[in-house]
Symmetry: C2
Subunit: 333 residues, 2 copies
């Protein structure tokens, strides 16, 4: 990571969660980062635990440092834009180099030199403070509470599907998996008017969908070759096989899951059936925030448990349980 001097006025250090060798620990003496040129220092208010965090702990990606990338916080230092101090913000987690072909083409999320908050070469949000470039920080309107704002990042990832493919109002769409991300995807896709079904395994997941007037079905009720679009948000290798079976010829499978290994792909059948596969990752923050602000999505209903930073291991254990939805970590105390 880029060298940062310790803030002169914060010599005491901060509390932060440290991930090293697949283990999380609470440290109280981590140097408070100093914003580099163009960056701001953000005091984190709360942060969400996502599947990627769980995978990081399992060693899915090599990462040593402070994890966490879903957060809401407050700008406390902004050397280049002091007028923004005090803003409550969420933050785009990808930080591109700004000068490569990808960055110049507006695809800084795919910059080869990028850092990613709490995931790749950049300390994350399970800490009292984090740094991000000013341009990554989006101001949160007063009427959007922290509990909703903390979902802007995963909600943006859900919206990435519609950045990538066109969902027709007449499409039959299946979301596989009704976990944290599957719920948010469902809440965004239902807005298209499409004929949406969500394969949900657990009662709490089904109840949340019903509360949003979204149709759920059991996995064994999925009809073969019946959906124009299938979104795999299962987080399991089996999800792809189910998606492939459910999509109709000339349909699209969106890969919105975390796969730990390679899969065996019958590429010939993909050609005969003219299937499109779309890998999908991070998405646009501004429209995610707009949907929350207008009340068109209601992510906060996903919150299932709250923990303080000092109880991070319990928080991660809870988040890893089958069927558990969003676990929020409050940083304040």
């Amino acid at each position: 990571m880029a060298a940062r001097r310790i803030l002169k006025n914060r010599m005491i250090g901060m509390r932060a969660i440290w991930l090293e060798n697949n283990a999380l620990s609470l440290r109280s003496d981590v140097p408070v980062p100093e914003p580099l040129a163009g960056e701001a220092l953000v005091k984190v208010r709360s942060a969400g635990i996502c599947a990627t965090d769980l995978e990081l702990v399992k060693g899915y990606y090599p990462f040593t440092g402070i994890p966490g990338h879903e957060f809401v916080g407050e700008i406390v230092q902004a050397p280049d834009r002091p007028e923004r101090v005090g803003e409550r913000v969420v933050g785009e987690i990808n930080v591109g180099c700004g000068s490569c072909v990808s960055c110049l083409a507006g695809r800084s999320n795919h910059c080869e030199q990028r850092t990613v908050l709490g995931i790749l070469n950049r300390h994350g949000a399970f800490a009292e403070y984090l740094c991000l470039p000013m341009k990554n920080l989006i101001s949160i309107p007063e009427d959007v509470p922290d509990d909703a704002a903390v979902f802007v990042e995963p909600l943006a990832a859900a919206l990435e599907i519609q950045q990538q493919i066109k969902i027709l109002p007449t499409d039959r769409v299946l979301v596989l998996g009704a976990g944290r991300l599957g719920q948010l995807i469902a809440q965004t896709l239902v807005l298209t008017g499409c004929d949406l079904q969500v394969a949900a395994r657990y009662n709490n997941q089904r109840e949340l969908l019903a509360a949003c007037n979204i149709n759920w079905i059991a996995e064994n009720a999925i009809a073969a070759q019946s959906y124009e679009v299938v979104v795999d948000a299962t987080g399991s290798e089996k999800g792809f096989a189910t998606a492939r079976s459910a999509v109709r010829p000339r349909g699209t499978v969106v890969l919105k899951s975390t796969y730990r290994s390679h899969i065996q792909l019958n590429i010939s059948s993909l050609i005969v059936d003219e299937i499109t596969l779309v890998g999908s990752r991070c998405g646009p923050f501004a429209p995610a925030l707009r949907l929350i602000e207008k009340g068109l999505v209601d992510p906060a209903i996903l919150i299932e448990a709250r923990y303080f930073l000092k109880n991070i291991r319990s928080a991660f254990e809870r988040a890893a349980q089958a069927g558990v939805l969003k676990v929020i970590v409050h940083i304040g105390e």
Copy 2:
């Protein structure tokens, strides 16, 4: 296959190529098929050998009967539309059931009950006569010679790419493979104004591309992560790996090749790089014919050798040689 009576006025039988147990033979006593309701009897004038035919002989698909699906011929019987007798035609090779969800939605190419000329449950074009539904037969204008018309089927398959994805004039596009299909794909994609390069291995392939003012490059000159769209028309398993390496993040790989086995897919990297994979098969005939008629593509320059039906084995051997382009089989004599 559907039972067909032998035509009463053609008791002698016809000459046809018979594929059985991975071997081709010339038969002179094959019953002339009688058109079913809605079908026409077509006297075949010439037919092209395509990679799929070569794969059929190798046992890639199980098929026993008369192969061949790229043809130009003349309607000699049309019980329901006698006024069409005498028309010179090419034919859409997929025959749907007409009543299933796919057929009713206009995707008869994906009807689960479909037959496919010379490929699936329907005798093909390496014969004096074939049957197809009238609605599958497209009339060929007088000024389009047989040597061009016989390419309408593979040219339609090339155009299927643009039926499926949008190619921007500003896109950098790479076609991998400059064989029979790769050349036709290149001739259609260059019309978009995109920045097109074709990875070509053999001198004759390069010369053909140069004759069409299409840029070719050597395979070792392909820059990594540099193309918005990569079309794999190599016909080899290695093609996919090359395509995956050449496409830029958020780009599209079109699978326009024949793969005999499963491939190991790193699905996680597909998600991180947000790659789209598109399986692509048969395409629309009418626009293919329009491009030929207007002189915007020139498929006949691909013809490398001509054989008569009786020399079919030599024709297939020639077509299977590395770098060889189109081999035409003349049925007349």
